[in-house]
Symmetry: C2
Subunit: 95 residues, 2 copies
């Protein structure tokens, strides 16, 4: 899996609403209804991560969830990160 | 629920191994086998949090989990935080 250039990252970010690049990760913050709702969505995301064998840095406080994605092995962003981000968007938007 | 003093926090920390006070929270980092193992334990903790109606600030990266507890309503640490910390220890130690 190849490390994406700054230009490639910028281009790919156009496809996933609300995601941004910061300090070596692409990230987004979400707000859900309550803790139950948030953790339910985290569980659906967790299964998808396991399937893709790609795992987030994520932080939860009550109904807030911040997800940061990067590819440790290449020390940057790869297509794997964008694939997972798109899967997360589908889950969050219940598609 | 009453905000605990620094002395009370220090005393209560003696009962929960590996927990420490830092920047307004009691916190501990855990390392588990892999992501599946970690998220399974998080799920058990999530149900306990919901039962106690007390929720953590927690961050996960693969098999690492950092949990920070405080009581937002009083701007500090209460017995609720120590109760949840003890429940988390029981779950983690499979007791």
């Amino acid at each position: 899996m190849k490390k994406l250039s700054a230009d490639q990252i910028e281009e790919s970010l156009k496809d996933i609403k609300g995601w941004a690049y910061n300090e070596g990760s692409i990230w987004k913050s979400f707000k859900f209804q309550d803790f139950k709702d948030t953790f339910s969505i985290m569980t659906r995301i967790a299964f998808e991560c396991e399937k893709q064998n790609h795992h987030p840095n994520w932080e939860n406080v009550y109904n807030n969830l911040t997800i940061k994605l990067n590819t440790h092995d290449v020390g940057g962003i790869t297509q794997n990160d964008f694939d997972l981000a798109k899967s997360i968007e589908k889950i969050v938007n219940n598609k």
